[in-house]
Symmetry: C2
Subunit: 197 residues, 2 copies
């Protein structure tokens, strides 16, 4: 057996996303925050989960508007995404500071970031209190992408969109590297004689 | 305003993880599956969520054992991880087929993969029925890492561990590229005069 070192209970997982969450407050002021705790959580209805602390401005906004967007930055927006995670929307309009443009979703009462290449527009579906964080499950009503980063099947091409991920363990951001294999394909090389007949 | 193309409601997010989930069935046979729908969901208690269809073998195993592990493959294990997502544990012991070693956790009744560089040992805490997928929230009782991939602060170094991510949109796996910035740091370059005083 290989030796493994125990790190204790901690919130490390690979990759951890950089979800930039867009909301409106009750006066209609747009806000952004970064959520590293989250991910897709259901195929039908298509849903994505994000987990927020109650103290955040976005928590109140989602509770009031029952809606949020998730905006995926490309690696050339890493400074903007990091800034969003440092400053609270209680004291500042982060769109204005960063020169980003809030676009009001036509589907839900939340803004998305015009300058980011990919966005999800989400309607609040479930709330799960877990502990320090509350999980919001949003139904994805639409996904939108910039044409410049589309693959031939219309979905985003990660090699063009260049999303990056967050690592809490080394407090850093890491870029997308290369495509290293076809999903539901490359593993077939390991099949036994009878498995895929 | 920039033009964005609507893709309709769909489960695309960047990055999407490749969580290889380890469980025991009621006879003690170890199983593995890949979960792309998941992510960290709470800091205290430290928790991770995975979403599974009821039809999977792992769903029944988690319901019975109230425990699972999450195993993170490095890019040199991309074939094994893909294989785990193709074949059902109902018909095959995937550990045996792939020559992987199940190690029984000392903390929960679930096996982890000896050959993978990073594992989380989880106790089932919440079950949320969403639709086609059921979300299991597990409390992380320990994280374990191979010494060879540790950073100077003991946590895994992504540049050594080389985790990869899954993209459902282009049905591919993408490697970790470069470290492109310090979290809670690189964004400070965009601060206004008074923000960080």
């Amino acid at each position: 057996m290989k030796m493994k070192v125990s790190l204790g209970p901690g919130t490390l997982a690979y990759p951890t996303p950089v979800f930039v969450v867009g909301t409106y407050d009750k006066t209609g002021k747009p806000n952004l925050m970064t959520a590293a705790w989250g991910g897709i959580c259901c195929s039908k209805p298509p849903c994505v989960a994000i987990a927020l602390r109650e103290a955040t401005y976005s928590y109140s906004n989602i509770m009031e508007q029952k809606a949020f967007t998730i905006n995926i930055p490309s690696e050339d927006m890493v400074k903007e995404a990091d800034y969003v995670g440092i400053v609270s929307g209680k004291t500042e309009n982060k769109f204005e500071t960063l020169g980003l443009t809030p676009v009001k979703s036509e589907l839900v009462n939340a803004p998305y970031v015009d300058e980011f290449p990919f966005v999800l527009e989400c309607k609040l579906l479930h709330i799960l209190e877990i502990g320090r964080h509350t999980q919001f499950v949003g139904e994805i009503l639409d996904a939108k992408v910039e044409p410049a980063v589309q693959a031939s099947n219309n979905n985003p091409d990660p090699l063009k969109m260049k999303p990056f991920y967050f690592d809490p363990g080394t407090r850093g951001y890491y870029s997308t590297g290369k495509r290293i294999g076809d999903a539901f394909g490359i593993g077939k090389e390991l099949k036994k004689e009878s498995t895929f007949t």
